[in-house]
């Protein structure tokens, strides 16, 4: 297999974490050892930041506060629109305000275990350490977290943990955190520290003398293609769940920035690690454009069940208690409905595969609140989850207070992303990657309420402290506008735009996106097999070929053209899908969200193979038709001992 699908490359390793001191001291030690930039020199340095979500927005504000000149780019009309805004449930922090045994070490332990031992210990420990500062920072900015009557902050529980460490703002935590970062960002815009580029999409990375020095962008309103040069480039451009077409991501979320950086030499790590969220509203028809998540926090009070008998079509209220199977509580008595996401999703798939699924097509399970309403009263349930219940009612036309919800798993988050070291620097010097766009903290499965934590950790506290070591050698030489690297990159972008508009085929961009998404969902979704992945790998090059000969893109290159934007994103998704399937096929073990049917325990749980696969798969790009190159970063577990995950 190795010969035809990929080539073995040199191993890769992080060299920045100071492993000569104990893990609890490494972050402080790294900050001490890293070089600094004197305040007077910072204003001479330009940092380009793409994306304005929790990671990108926080990093832009923080670096501008420190005195750097920041150039910020985003494709939406305002920096407040980034998809972080849609996160519902909460943000983890090891504050131990509940006095329930939480600590930095426990958050670290839970995250490594939850990631099924495929994340890097040093990064995860730092994340747990920084988590407490994030809450302090956000409160100081005026983020209105939920509070108790005494005026102190409230907490709730999330999957994969037995403590209450999740801070929240009703079901809109992401919105409130992002608005906090956005306000800090706008404050720096006013202060002149951030130069803004709205409705502007990065379409290539400019690498000069081996260093990332700039980006080629397209102004989405005028179509103008231009280049921006700086001393470092930071990508906070989010995840690639939209490769599946249907996901909980915003419609505009895409892989283009990181994929094009990958094509310029940044390794792409663990692309097959994707997270399928267990509680989403099921698909209702072919026209479906996206899937809507119902927060994991609902599993605090909701009970998941299906009928015991297959083909039971009675309304849920009419099915008596003893004919229901609360399968998560039955199979995992210790964690019950709060098992991690990968397990909850796969169990939902299993009961539906058995023919016990509910709703149209049998692709759904019940999330029932009858017990909670009886125990707490409808008012309390409304106060906790009212906006989610309203959203459910609006989308489905059903009343969840009366009949509960129907839910089914959907793609939600991608743990894979560009490979970064402890400093969050990619394999291209000067290119830093933060938030969901990198791979480093969640291993093969992310725990709930940890995405917001990581985005803000990277943006507020990690990157601003690590990028200085690189920038201590800046400002770098000026790059003239006619530099061959700029000329070549701009020409490539313009040629692609012209190519799209000239094909004039018979199929729309969306039809290719839907076909690709369905294929990746079927074969590289909740359950993967060698046979299925090979089918996908046979089919993807055909889709790619047809796309480039038969797509029909409307409009022209010089006006606002959303169809053209979509075409470029789909072109990249097609290429990424191939690498995801190669990664999934080569990893002949199950771990976290990557479930290979060939590798399971007798009880049907993910069975890792630590002997052969305890590594990060960092892929190097090669031109079309040539196999990608695999670089392995060995994962070592000094502090959390490798063990089969158990939530029973």
């Amino acid at each position: 297999m190795a010969l035809e699908l990929f080539l073995d490359g040199d191993p890769i390793a992080d060299t920045k974490a100071p492993t000569d001191v104990p893990i609890g001291e490494r972050w402080s030690e790294r900050k001490f050892r890293g070089k600094l930039v004197n305040p007077a020199n910072r204003r001479k340095m330009t940092v380009i930041i793409v994306g304005t979500g929790l990671a990108g927005g926080a990093a832009a504000a923080t670096l501008a506060e420190a005195g750097y000149h920041v150039k910020s780019f985003w494709f939406q009309d305002s920096p407040r629109r980034a998809h972080s805004i849609a996160a519902q449930g909460g943000i983890n922090a090891a504050k131990n305000y509940r006095n329930d045994g939480d600590s930095v070490h426990r958050l670290f332990y839970d995250t490594v275990k939850g990631g099924d031992f495929r994340s890097r210990e040093n990064n995860v420990h730092r994340l747990a350490e920084v988590s407490t500062q994030i809450i302090d920072q956000c409160v100081a900015q005026g983020v209105p977290f939920a509070r108790e009557y005494g005026g102190l902050l409230d907490n709730r529980s999330f999957g994969g943990a037995q403590v209450s460490r999740t801070f929240y703002a009703r079901g809109q935590t992401g919105q409130q955190l992002l608005i906090g970062a956005y306000q800090a960002f706008e404050r720096q815009v006013a202060a002149g520290g951030i130069e803004t580029h709205s409705r502007t999409e990065m379409l290539d990375l400019v690498v000069v003398d081996g260093k990332a020095r700039g980006i080629v962008v397209r102004d989405l309103v005028t179509g103008e293609v231009s280049t921006h040069i700086g001393d470092a480039v930071v990508l906070g451009t989010g995840g690639y769940s939209n490769v599946y077409y249907l996901s909980t991501n915003a419609k505009g979320s895409n892989t283009t920035a990181i994929w094009r950086a990958h094509k310029r030499g940044a390794y792409f790590a663990n692309p097959c690690y994707t997270q399928i969220h267990p509680t989403c509203i099921p698909v209702s028809g072919d026209y479906q454009s996206k899937l809507t998540l119902m927060s994991e926090s609902l599993r605090n009070d909701g009970r998941v069940w299906v009928p015991k008998e297959r083909g039971d079509t009675r309304a849920p209220q009419d099915i008596p208690e003893d004919e229901r199977d609360y399968y998560l509580e039955r199979k995992y008595p210790a964690f019950g409905n709060l098992v991690p996401r990968d397990i909850a999703s796969r169990q939902a798939k299993n009961v539906c595969d058995e023919g016990r699924g509910v709703g149209p097509g049998g692709l759904g399970v019940y999330l029932d609140f009858a017990d909670a309403i009886e125990r707490l009263g409808r008012k309390t349930v409304e106060a906790k989850y009212g906006n989610l219940f309203d959203m459910y009612a609006r989308i489905t036309g059903e009343d969840p207070y009366a009949s509960g919800m129907r839910i089914y798993p959907a793609v939600h988050y991608t743990m894979g992303g560009l490979w970064v070291d402890y400093d969050l620097q990619s394999t291209i010097p000067g290119l830093f990657v933060i938030g969901e766009a990198n791979f480093s903290d969640h291993g093969a499965n992310r725990l709930g309420a940890s995405a917001l934590m990581q985005g803000l950790s990277d943006g507020y506290f990690v990157l601003p402290n690590t990028i200085t070591d690189y920038l201590s050698a800046a400002p770098f030489e000026k790059v003239p506008a006619d530099h061959p690297a700029i000329v070549e990159a701009e020409a490539g972008v313009k040629a692609q735009v012209e190519k799209f508009l000239s094909i004039n085929g018979t199929r729309t961009v969306a039809s290719f996106h839907r076909e690709l998404g369905r294929l990746v969902w079927d074969y590289c979704g909740m359950e993967r097999t060698a046979e299925g992945l090979r089918k996908a790998l046979d089919r993807i090059p055909e889709i790619r070929k047809e796309f480039w000969t038969n797509v029909k893109v409307a409009g022209d290159a010089h006006t606002f053209n959303q169809n053209l934007e979509h075409a470029a994103r789909v072109a990249d998704f097609i290429e990424l899908a191939e690498l995801m399937c190669i990664d999934a096929l080569h990893r002949e073990e199950s771990c976290g969200g990557h479930f290979r049917a060939e590798s399971q325990t007798p009880e049907g749980e993910a069975l890792r193979n630590d002997e052969e696969f305890a590594y990060v798969a960092a892929w190097g790009w090669t031109p079309e038709g040539e196999p990608p190159v695999l670089h392995k970063e060995a994962l070592e577990y000094e502090y959390v001992h490798l063990a089969q995950r158990s939530y029973k």
Partner: protein, 251 residues
């Protein structure tokens, strides 16, 4: 169901726009309003026509990107975002008018897409608490009474969609500005800049091409997050107080 759509088409800000008619058959009541437009756009592309441009992103009612005037009402017949409006709110045979937000403060970019960057400039003028990264005390250092925290949260749910401006006969951005003034002004952390914030944000709002507020209330009636008119009272209260105290530095 079968529908007739009358849609505002305007290729660019420089070109005059006009309404164009489209006929759709086979619209499912479970479709969202934007999915209905997706279906129309797919057809337009295959017919070699320019698809209708409209802003949208999260499609779950929180990013604030989408916003259409539907039959003359911002976000249409339900009090929600356009993306959360479903076709079950319409009937077979309906004719639906679809227009962009109309306000001097929101110039049209193309078709149904407008430029709402004026909102960012209002926030930039003072819609924040100055708390540079790393300077924060422990989160429990300052307890906040739950009732204040909850009221601040209610105001903070604003998604910046601009429906308030579009609905206002004066094209005023008062509800947007007031929501932020209220959110931050109710919290202890927001007190030091409270006077300066309201004065600067209102000054920026006036500098943009928005109209004045005459307490009509259309804004709150269409607000997908139900931001209340009380926020406007609070803004006026804070503004008067700040002007009376004359406590605002000029820069």
């Amino acid at each position: 169901m079968k529908l007739t759509l009358r849609v505002w088409r305007q290729p660019s800000p420089q070109v005059k726009g006009k309404m164009a008619n489209y006929h759709l058959t086979d619209v499912s009541e479970d479709m969202s309003f934007l999915e209905m437009l997706d279906v129309l756009n797919e057809q337009l592309i295959l017919d070699g026509e320019d698809p209708i441009a409209f802003d949208h992103d999260c499609r779950e009612g929180i990013c604030g990107s989408c916003g259409l005037m539907i039959n003359g009402i911002a976000h249409g017949p339900e009090q929600t975002t356009t993306c959360q409006l479903h076709m079950r709110s319409f009937s077979d045979g309906d004719t639906i008018d679809i227009e962009p937000w109309r306000s001097g403060g929101f110039p049209v970019v193309k078709d149904l897409v407008v430029d709402r960057s004026a909102f960012d400039r209002i926030i930039s003028a003072g819609g924040f608490i100055s708390a540079p990264t790393g300077t924060a005390p422990d989160a429990h250092a300052t307890p906040v009474p739950k009732v204040d925290a909850d009221a601040a949260f209610d105001a903070a749910t604003c998604i910046g969609c601009g429906a308030c401006v579009a609905a206002c006969p004066n094209g005023s951005a008062m509800l947007f500005t007031a929501a932020k003034v209220t959110h931050l002004g109710l919290l202890p952390q927001g007190q030091p800049e409270r006077d300066a914030r309201v004065v600067r944000m209102v000054a920026q709002q006036d500098a943009e091409d928005f109209g004045g507020c005459t307490n009509i209330g259309e804004c709150s009636a269409v607000c997908p997050k139900g931001i209340s008119m009380e926020t406007i009272s609070r803004l006026n209260h804070d503004l008067l107080g700040a002007l009376r105290a004359n406590a605002v530095p000029t820069s």
